[in-house]
């Protein structure tokens, strides 16, 4: 068994979006945000559905086009929180436009079940767009909260390995990540990101190395046959626990970065587990079997 701390900053960057409401009550979100396999489409749709009080199926999301408002983009675990906060900002504006159109005080209007309510009056949301589409655009822009607070995410990684007594080959048996990273917008896609990150961490610990040809000056193993990366099937059990929290200084979403927290510290936990199993402390990643082989203790 091995354990290590996980720590990664939560980065706040401006992010914009445009939201449309059509006469059928469908909400369309447009932002140049990208979905690199992380689930951006889904959490953006969830955000718009929550804000406008419609079902998820009534939201259409268009991403990745420079003709759309400029978002935070994807990287450095800043995409999810910032891009949804940008959609939140645009939805706040659209709610105001809807309230005004329907004659509600926007501060009192409640949006749910495809309707707008205030007091004992309710009107279908779609009616606000009866005369034509309503469009709102806005951005989340951050003040000093990124400076007055240390914006970070925290966690711990736990790893169990088996090390082959004769060959020194390390096999991952179990991994667990415990993450404190604000409100989890979608536990399913967040978990997928973290277990993917944990798998990458296992790669860094055990396999991944571009070998330098020091005469020719290039990386020798430049394909996936010789630069090996692990996959989920290499790790029988992966578990993620998200601590139940919401962080109000991060954004209106009260969410934070998730994905990279899942990788920070994994390789350290693996190295610690190998040490625990064998008594061999390797400080030179990746911990390939050749670094263990000659030092393995005698096992009868």
């Amino acid at each position: 068994m091995g354990v290590a701390a996980a720590f990664r900053n939560n980065l706040l960057t401006k992010s914009a979006a445009r939201v449309r409401l059509d006469r059928n009550g469908k909400v369309t979100v447009e932002t140049d945000m990208t979905d690199i396999g992380t689930g951006s489409y889904t959490i953006i749709a969830q955000t718009a559905a929550e804000m406008m009080g419609v079902a998820l199926q009534d939201v259409v999301v268009h991403l990745g086009d420079s003709s759309f408002p400029v978002s935070a983009g994807s990287g450095g675990q800043w995409g999810g929180n910032n891009s949804t906060a940008g959609v939140y900002a645009a939805c706040v504006k659209l709610r105001e436009a809807v309230a005004q159109k329907l004659g509600f005080n926007s501060a009192d209007a409640q949006f749910s079940d495809g309707k707008v309510r205030s007091g004992n009056r309710d009107v279908p949301l779609a009616q606000a767009a009866a005369d034509g589409e309503l469009v709102a655009e806005d951005a989340i822009e951050y003040g000093d909260l990124g400076k007055t607070y240390q914006q970070s995410t925290f966690g711990a990684h736990f790893v169990e390995v088996g090390v082959h007594a004769a060959t020194g080959e390390t096999r991952m048996r179990r991994m667990l990540a415990v993450c404190a990273c604000g409100r989890i917008l979608n536990p399913k896609t967040a978990r997928s990101q973290v277990i993917g990150a944990m798998t990458m961490g296992a790669g860094a610990a055990l396999m991944e190395e571009l070998v330098v040809d020091k005469r020719g000056g290039f990386f020798v193993n430049h394909d996936l046959a010789s630069y090996e990366v692990p996959v989920h099937a290499d790790i029988p059990h992966q578990e993620v626990i998200f601590l139940d929290e919401a962080d109000p200084v991060s954004s209106p979403m009260k969410a934070k970065g998730v994905a990279e927290l899942g990788i920070c510290g994994v390789a350290a936990a693996v190295a610690n587990a190998i040490y625990h199993a064998t008594g061999i402390r390797v400080r030179d990643y990746p911990i390939t079997l050749d670094k263990l082989l000659t030092r393995l203790p005698n096992v009868a």
Binding site: F7, N9, N186, E209, F218, H222, A268
Partner: protein, 450 residues
């Protein structure tokens, strides 16, 4: 909307949709093959030609001559892009090496030509007919060899961890020298490749002076900015689309040769051109996470309280490149009244080093075992069952190994019979720290195991 005070109650807090474990709404497109990736916009450009990138065969030097004759004469070849006909190109601030090399070569596999042909196969076949003569220049490829000459550099990653070249708080050396328990170890991490599933790919199309690029980019606005700067055309004339991306992990934060060469190839060919890097081109043509050599020194009291901490990291990059910011987390997370944080940057002529799956942070925490796991290991964990049917060793057997390693090399191996709270029996080893904090023993040491 300005967000400058902590969020109050708002509609998101209802959590009717947000916070629910929802399937990906794009999942059905991906699983049915109907999500369009950069290389797959067939109906947008049914007449697209195919570009194949030729990479430099040397790491550093200059092209003396290029013989394109046989390639040009090959069937199906439409045009060949090189530095001689690519026009006046700029370089965006995001790129260290130029995305089209020649005549000067900055790294191995740097793009030096794009063969545009009717099919991928004809483009690839013609690319192999190009003959290039180089004047090879000596390059620097060995990080460890530059350990003692690489200058300290400041910076960080703009996350509150930026620092001067050598960042000191208190008197690290004095506190470390007087600490009852110390660690002084060197760690190394390898060069790594992002290895995302989808290699870099782009389809470029011009309509008069307006360029549209379908590509695989994590950052759309940066792609527009950098294509504009590289091609020297107004940003308003560039449109970038990237609705689906098959992973990036940092490798697609900034445009790469596929996007630029597809655009130039399309301009010269007079029709849409698409370019994908083949997998073997990716590690050397694009970017990677640079290797590091890191020295960590920690001085602590017997109760584990850190009184002195030093973290120095060496990495390398092309001229004008940045260091791998491996020391950030030490600065942000670890206590210790007396501190020394430093990054050194060697000039290397390897391919460009850049951001990858948190820059500098992926392995920074292996010493976070200290001291927590040590105490635990020698108490509760030793009583846990071990020795599985396969090969997991029992702790009892380990003890002899640990004793050996403690005696031979490590200032940090736990004492065999240490129990919780009394295990701080390790004395500082009279090693490199007495000879200046970058005067390590031997660079060779890092070429093999510790």
């Amino acid at each position: 909307m300005k967000f400058d005070t902590p969020a109050a109650q708002n509609p998101i807090d209802q959590l009717k949709v947000v916070g629910r474990a929802t399937d990906r709404i794009d999942g059905k497109f991906k699983t049915t093959g109907t999500a369009r990736y950069a290389y797959e916009w067939h109906e947008v450009a049914p007449d697209a030609a195919y570009g194949y990138i030729v990479g430099a065969g040397i790491a550093k030097g200059r092209i003396r001559a290029m013989d394109l004759g046989a390639a040009r004469a090959a069937p199906g070849v439409i045009t060949i892009v090189t530095y001689e006909n690519a026009g006046d190109l700029g370089k965006s601030q995001s790129n260290i090496a130029r995305l089209l090399g020649g005549p000067d070569i900055e790294h191995y596999e740097q793009a030096v030509a794009l063969v545009v042909a009717e099919t991928f196969e004809t483009a690839r076949a013609a690319a192999r007919l190009i003959r290039i003569d180089y004047d090879r220049a000596p390059g620097r490829f060995d990080l460890a060899a530059q350990m003692n000459s690489a200058p300290p550099v400041g910076g960080g990653s703009g996350e509150g961890s930026g620092s001067p070249p050598i960042d000191r708080v208190g008197d690290f050396e004095a506190a470390f020298a007087s600490a009852p328990v110390t660690l002084d170890e060197t760690y190394s991490t390898a060069n790594e490749s992002h290895s995302m599933m989808e290699p870099h790919a782009s389809l470029a199309m011009w309509q008069r002076d307006k360029l549209t690029v379908w590509t695989s980019s994590q950052m759309i606005a940066w792609a527009v900015r950098d294509l504009s700067a590289t091609l020297k055309i107004p940003k308003e004339n560039v449109r970038v689309l990237s609705p689906y991306i098959g992973g990036g992990f940092g490798a697609k934060l900034w445009i790469r040769s596929d996007a630029v060469l597809a655009a130039i190839g399309s301009r010269l060919a007079g029709r849409p051109v698409k370019v994908a890097l083949t997998r073997p081109q990716v590690p050397n043509n694009t970017v990677h996470r640079p290797a590091t050599i890191q020295r960590v020194r920690i001085g602590a009291d017997h109760d584990g309280t850190i009184t002195a901490i030093a973290h120095e990291s060496l990495s390398g990059n092309l001229p004008d490149g940045k260091p791998e910011t491996a020391t950030d987390q030490t600065k942000l997370l670890y206590a210790g009244a007396n501190r020394l944080i430093s990054m050194r940057l060697a000039t290397l002529d390897l391919p460009e080093g850049n951001a990858m799956r948190p820059r500098g942070r992926r392995r920074g925490w292996r010493f976070s075992r200290w001291p927590w796991t040590r105490w635990r290991k020698s108490s509760a964990w030793t009583r846990s069952p071990s020795g599985s049917p396969m090969t997991h060793r029992s702790i009892r057997r380990n003890r002899s190994a640990r004793s050996r390693s403690a005696g031979s090399r490590s200032a940090f191996a736990p004492a065999p019979s240490a129990s919780a709270g009394t295990g701080a029996t390790h004395s500082p080893q009279p090693r490199a720290r007495d000879r200046g904090w970058w005067a390590w023993e031997s660079p060779r040491r890092f070429a093999t195991t510790c």
